[in-house]
Amino acid sequence: MTIDFELSPRIKATKNMIHMFAESAIRPIARHYDENEHEKPWDLLNMVQKFMGGGMAGAFGSESKEEKEEGGEAKEKKPRETNLAGAVTIEEIFWGDAGIALSFPGPGLGGAAVQASGTPEQKEKFLARFSGDKPVWGAMAITEPEAGSDTANIKTTAVLDGDEWVLNGEKIFVTSGKSALEDSEGFVVVWATVDRSAGRAGIKPFIVEHGTPGMQITKIEDKMGIRCSDTVSISFMDCRIPKENILGSPEVVDKTKTEGFKKVMATFDATRPLVAAMAIGVGRAALDFIKETLKEEGVELRYGINPHRMTSLERDIMQMEADLKAARLLTWRAVWMLDNGLRNDLQASMAKAKAGLAVTRITQKAVELMGPLGYSREYLLEKWMRDSKINDIFEGTGQIQLLITARRILGFTREQLK
């Protein structure tokens, strides 16, 4: 091994292909699906399903088809790049448009949870559907009206009754919830507690199939950005699911054992860098726009001169560029560690914290720098500013990422550093 920043030919080829796709198929319709919230780009989604056939699975951290084809033994020798490939691909797609990219079919976070902690039977049963002809979505429902960052505080309950779990409660902000449950034959992974007194140890993920009685979508949110992606509330009223739809062990053995919880939380080690990559794609779109505009105006950027001799514009752009690059490198490091079987929770949070905040600032700055062009809906820049804000919120807010980073650096437990 040696330090290297050159993408492998395979990833490069994919990157180029995805970029062309993003430019020709996504960009041109981005505005339409921003202005027409709750519409879906079905033609595109069908095409995506056809060509990628669950390929976005890789994009969400699960070992998609490609891994299986490579076979067990070959896998040992050949260095894995699945997660890096995912990050690179995501950056390109999100460069095209974040809202549309988020609306792509695939297992999503719910599928990632099944992949990470499901039994072989569960994987077979729930993941196969994503590689069919028709688009299918998976979703993950953790957040509740009274529990967002504080996931341990969820109130949705699951009670075993014979061969079934009975779910009661309300979930909000479920990405692709409508796509999974109404627009396709998908499922949602729902976090519920089997024993409130047990705290974290009592929280378990359950797979709920589309069309299960007692589950209802109660609201579809109107949002600031990423409007093409549906975000819904789901209520569970005596919703009965088979006993075997629990992910991980049903036992609440002892309050200090939070294995199941941890395993699902571990999916975040894979998905957080990917959310960072999403942010980076949008940030790059904004920077590209600025640079093209300046080029058309004949403005040259003087790299290498001392900052105090730069124009304020040059200084801002160089700061943005360095920030974006730093975020990308942190992200690549986090996925590279994952690909190499190294524990990456710290690096995943660092990448997400950096990218979420950096890109929020980059796009806001970009709108400022482009004056009326930035503020106008004639261009996509203002949309990117709205879209990018979500990256500092979902999959753990910027503050939560700092909290995780600080705990690891300081060696504090969650009790010592709240």
Binding site: T2, Q319, A326, L330, K354, A406, L417
Partner: protein, 369 residues
């Protein structure tokens, strides 16, 4: 294929330099700063690590295979971790040596490089920064005019390290003023040359143990053979960028040290019944410091990697250096803040790092990878 893992040689270099920094540099840091001089023993021992000789090929009496900016920044990060003044003193000769190695003529390499491959430390200086608030390497005020087979150098320089201790200094001056970076050349000037006026040692806010001088050049005449690259001249921006990588790497190392110090203090210092690090106001500062130190290191690595791969790296080096300067100030400022009043007292190293940190925005040249 993307990888963040050092090769075996880099790991070895890192380990060796890290233990040197911990054993010899850091313990001497405070006293050296107060006295305003670097301990000769540390420099002698540091020289034995062979960091510079290891860059120079055997044909010039060195013991290196290939100059690697990446290995260089890895080593410099560790030196920066140990102490900035000592690191810059130890590596000050690198500017002349690496410039000659990278862009000198064969004769220049033969003439100047062997001296840096001996057992004993060999000082060498470089003069780039000028004493103007708006100094910029692309708008150098010092000029070198051709006069027959000679160049006549005129202008003022400052932050010239080891000017009095060295036999030679590499002087950067505009041969084509108004041409930006491409109008600048470098001259290997014997320190005793007529017209080289070295002033009294400078008094700086930080890097106090490193002796730096103002130098005036008044009709200083040097023959053409002293021009780096002779008739073909040199690629100044490339050299400048190599030095920016080195400075950025030092900034990463020093900031990493400040982060570690703050981390330890935050877990030990009790206020209101709990370690201060258990409060988010402190913990979040530390998290951001950690993120930015790592981010900067990766920017530096990537730029250095590009340099080694013969890709354009000038833009990346500039971004990394400016980023590093801001990062170092942010991290060291917070280092002081986290210690409260104690951070303001000269017993504590954060006070020293804080003063050193601001220098990175001003420094150019001075060290090179």
């Amino acid at each position: 294929m993307v990888s963040f893992e050092m090769d075996d040689e880099q790991k070895m270099v890192q380990e060796t330099v890290a233990s040197f920094a911990a054993d010899l540099m850091e313990p001497a840091m405070r006293e050296s700063d107060e006295k305003g001089e670097v301990p000769g023993e540390v420099i002698a021992k540091g020289w034995e690590l062979g960091l510079l000789g290891g860059c120079i090929p055997e044909e010039y009496e060195g013991f290196g295979e290939q100059l690697s900016a990446l290995t260089g920044v890895i080593a410099l990060e560790e030196l920066g971790w140990g102490d900035l003044s000592m690191a810059m003193h130890l590596m000050a000769p690198s500017v002349l040596a690496i410039s000659v190695l990278d862009q000198g003529t064969e004769e220049q390499k033969k003439q100047y490089l062997p001296a840096f491959c001996r057992e004993e430390y060999k000082a060498a200086s470089s003069a780039l920064v000028e004493p103007y608030y708006n100094f910029c390497p692309s708008a150098m005020r010092a000029v070198a005019e051709r006069d027959g087979d000679e160049y006549v150098i005129n202008g003022k320089k400052c932050l010239v390290p080891l000017a009095k201790e060295s036999d030679h200094m590499l002087v950067f001056a505009a041969t084509n003023p108004g041409m930006g970076f491409s109008g600048v050349d470098a001259f290997i000037v014997p320190v005793g040359t007529k017209g080289v006026e070295i002033g009294d040692r400078e008094k700086n806010m930080g890097i106090k143990a490193l002796s730096t001088y103002p130098v005036n050049f008044k009709d200083c005449r040097v023959p053409l053979v002293c021009r780096l690259g002779e008739e073909s001249g040199c690629d100044f921006l490339r050299l400048l960028s190599r030095s920016r990588l080195a400075l950025a790497a030092l900034a990463v190392g020093m900031s990493r040290r400040a982060l570690e110090h703050s981390r330890d203090y935050a877990t030990q210092r009790i206020a209101f019944g709990e370690p201060i690090g258990s409060r988010q106001a402190i913990a979040f500062m530390i998290a951001e410091m950690a993120i930015e130190v790592d981010a900067t290191r990766l920017l530096v690595w990537e730029a250095a990697w590009r340099c080694d791969k013969n890709m354009d790296f000038e833009k990346e080096a500039a971004l990394a250096k400016n980023y590093a300067a801001d990062m170092a100030m942010m991290v060291c400022d917070r280092g002081v803040q986290i210690m409260g009043g104690h951070g303001y007292i000269r017993d504590n190293p954060v006070e020293l790092w804080f003063r050193n940190a601001r220098g990175f925005a001003t420094f150019e040249g001075m060290v090179m990878v």
